[in-house]
C-alpha cells in the first residue's frame, strides 16, 4: 500500500453471522481460534464478575472491555510476551494478562493494593494509563530505545478514538515515523469517549487515514472479528520487526457496556445502536463459526466457562487476600532515596499513627 494512497477497505475474515468472507485467508487455524475464543470469554466473564463486585463495594472503578474482546485479544496474540512490549491505555486489561501480567496482580490494582499490584519483573507491560494519550510518546521512546539497544523487540501500544484527539497522539506517531520505531499503534474505535460519540471526536472518515500524515501505513479492520484483527496485527508486527517502521491500525468496534462503573449510558446512547452492536458480538460470531465446523456446542461452552470462572475466582481471592497498604506506602517508590525533608514528613505521619 503506498503511503499516499487512501486507507484500504476495512479488513474482515468472519462475518457477524459467523461465516467466512469469501476468498479471504487467515493465519488463525481452528485450534488457535479456540484459544482466542477462550481468552475472549475470559475477558467477558471477568468484566461480569468484577462489575458485580464493584456494585457490592468490593472493587474499584472499572472500565469493561465488553464488546471489544476481538480487538483486545486479536491484537495481544500478535505479539510475543518474551520479546515484545505492551503499552496499554486502560480498557485492554485482558490483553496485558495475555502478555504475562498475572490476573491477581492487575486485580489487586483495582483493590487499591500497592506492592501486590506491582507488575512483576520480566513482564513487559507498562502500567495502565489514566492520562489519555500520554502513553503514546512513551511507546515511541521505548520502541526507539529498544532498537538503539539492539533488541529484536516490537512495542504494541493501545489508544482509543477519543485519545486520538490529544496532541500526544500526533507527536508520538510523527516521531515514531521519523525514527522508524518498531511500534504498532492499535486504535480501538469503540465509537465512544465516555458520552462523546465518534462523530464529535473527528470529521475524518477513518482514523487510519492519519498514518499517511506520518509517513507510514494505516489499516482499518473489523474490530469485532478476531481473525481479521490478528491477521492485520501480525502483518504490522512483522513490518516493525523487519525495520520497516510503525503501523496505525484502526479496529472499528463498539463499547457494549458503560464507560466505567460510574457511568450511565442511558443518558446519551441510542438503544437501537446498542442492539445493532449486539448483533455484531465478537464472541458469538466465533462460537457460531466453530459450531458450524462441529467444534463448539453448549457442553463445551459450559465446561470452558466453568474452568475460566475458577481461574478468575482464584485470582480474585489471591488479590483480596494480598496485604492492604499502610501510611508508609505513601513514601515508597517516589525516589530511589527520599530527600531529607520528605523523610521527615514520613516520620511525622508515622509518628501520628495509632498503633
Amino acid at each position: 500500500m503506498s503511503k499516499n494512497s487512501a486507507v484500504q477497505k476495512r479488513h474482515s475474515v468472519l462475518t457477524p453471522e459467523g461465516t467466512r468472507v469469501a476468498g479471504v485467508q487467515s493465519l488463525m487455524d481452528e485450534e488457535f481460534l479456540i484459544a482466542a475464543l477462550r481468552w475472549m470469554m475470559k475477558s467477558r466473564l471477568y468484566d461480569k464478575r468484577v462489575i458485580t463486585l464493584q456494585r457490592q463495594g468490593q472493587f474499584g472503578v472499572y472500565s469493561p472491555g465488553t464488546g471489544q474482546e476481538a480487538s483486545i485479544i486479536g491484537s495481544a496474540m500478535a505479539v510475543d510476551p518474551v520479546r515484545d512490549w505492551m503499552v496499554p491505555q486502560y480498557r485492554e486489561l485482558m490483553a496485558t494478562v495475555h502478555h504475562g501480567l498475572p490476573l491477581e496482580v492487575i486485580s489487586a490494582q483495582y483493590l487499591g493494593k500497592i506492592a501486590p499490584a506491582r507488575i512483576p519483573d520480566g513482564v513487559k507491560v507498562l502500567p495502565s494509563q489514566v492520562s489519555i494519550g500520554a502513553q503514546l510518546p512513551h511507546a515511541t521512546g521505548l520502541a526507539w530505545g529498544l532498537r538503539l539497544r539492539g533488541e529484536d523487540a516490537v512495542v504494541l501500544a493501545y489508544i482509543g478514538e477519543g485519545g486520538s484527539s490529544e496532541g500526544d497522539f500526533h507527536e508520538a506517531l510523527n516521531l515514531a515515523g521519523v525514527m522508524k520505531a518498531p511500534v504498532v499503534f492499535f486504535l480501538q474505535n469503540n465509537q465512544w469517549a465516555i458520552s462523546t460519540s465518534r462523530r464529535v471526536q473527528s470529521a475524518t472518515s477513518s482514523f487510519a487515514l492519519r498514518a499517511a500524515g506520518y509517513g507510514f501505513e494505516g489499516i482499518e479492520v473489523d474490530g469485532n472479528d478476531v481473525m481479521a484483527v490478528y491477521d492485520v496485527a501480525v502483518a504490522a508486527v512483522e513490518r516493525a520487526r523487519a525495520g520497516d517502521g510503525p503501523t496505525l491500525i484502526e479496529a472499528v468496534t463498539y463499547r457494549m457496556g458503560f464507560h466505567n462503573t460510574t457511568d450511565n449510558p442511558s443518558r446519551y446512547q441510542n438503544p437501537d445502536e446498542l442492539e445493532e452492536a449486539r448483533r455484531r458480538d465478537p464472541i458469538e460470531r466465533v462460537q457460531k463459526y466453530l459450531a458450524g465446523l462441529g467444534l463448539w456446542d453448549q457442553g463445551r461452552e459450559a465446561k470452558m466457562t466453568e474452568e475460566i470462572r475458577d481461574e478468575i475466582e482464584t485470582a480474585l481471592e489471591a488479590a483480596m487476600a494480598a496485604p492492604v497498604p499502610g501510611p508508609e506506602d505513601l513514601f515508597e517508590n517516589v525516589y530511589e532515596h527520599l530527600p531529607q525533608r520528605v523523610l521527615q514528613q514520613r516520620g511525622e505521619l508515622l509518628a501520628g499513627q495509632p498503633d
Partner: protein, 325 residues
Amino acid sequence: MPQRNIVEAINNALAEEMERDPRVMVLGLDVGKLGGVFRTTSGLVERFGGARVVDTPLAEASIIGASLGLALAGMVPVAEIQFLGFSAQGFHQLGPQLAKYRQRSRGRYHCQVTIRAPFGGGIRSPEFHSDAVEAHFVQTPGIKIVMPSNPYDAKGLLLEAIRDPDPVLFCEPDRLYRVGRSEVPDGAYTVPFGKAALVREGVHITLVAWSAAVELCLRAGDRLAEEGVSASVVDLRTLVPLDVETLCTEVARTRRFVVVHEAPLSAGFGAEVVATLMEEIFYDLDAPVARVAAFDVPYPAASLEDYYLPSLERVLTAARKTLQG
C-alpha cells in the same frame, strides 16, 4: 429561599447567565447530553441547544486555546476541563497564552474566558483526578484563581468570573459538590474577587484555607472549641487577587495561625500565605507558623489518600502546637 448544593448552584448560575447573555456558551468534554461527569451542566444542552453547549473532542489544549479564540470573536466561553489535573495537557495554552494575551497583544485584545475544573481528593477518584495544582497558575499572572468552598459563593463567584473581562480559573471542590445544601438565591448576584471571608470568628488562633480545606478547618474549629480554644477560619475564596488586608487583620487579631491546603507542602500556596504574613505583620505574631498540607509526594492511589491529605488530626495537632508556641 431555595436550598442548593454546589453542583446545583453552579448549574443554576450557568443557566441564568446563558439566559441573560446570549454570548455565553459552555464547552468541554461530555458537557452536553451527559451534563458533565458531575452533572454541573445537566439540562443546559436541552435548554440552550448544541451551538451553545458543545461537547468537544478529547483535547484540553484546544479547549482552552479555542476558548481564547471564541472570546476574540465576541463569545463568552465557559470551558470545562473535566478534572483540573488535566489542565496539564493545556498548560501552554492556559498560562503562557490565555493569562498573557491581554499583555501580548498590548491591550488590543482581552479574553473574557472562564475555565471551570473540578479537583480535590477524598472521593476515591482515579489517578490525576484529585491533583490540587492551583499554585501553578499563581505563577502565571494575568489569570484570576477562584476557589469556592460553599454553594452560595460558588454561584456568586462563578457569575463574577463569567462577567470578568479577564480570564478566570474556577476550581470546584468535587468532595463538597453534594455534601449539603444551603441557601442559594435565584437570580443574579455576584461575590467579589479579592475579598476573603471570615467564616468562623474566634480569638485564639486563625485557620486559613480555601476550597474544600475550609470545610476541614470549620470542623477543626468545632473540635478546638470543645477544648476551650476559640478559632477563626478565614476562607481566602480567591488566590489571585489575594485579600492581603483581611488575611493580615484576622491573623494579627489572633496573633497565631495555621494554613491548610490539599496541595503538596513545598511551594504550595500556603508558603505564599506565610511569606505574605511575615512581610506584613511579622511583629504581630507570637508563635512559629504551621502549614498543614499534603506531603511532598505525588498524589497516591485512592486507598492511601486519607493518609496523604490534611486530616482533622493533623490540623488539630498543628493548631495545638502553635498555641503552645
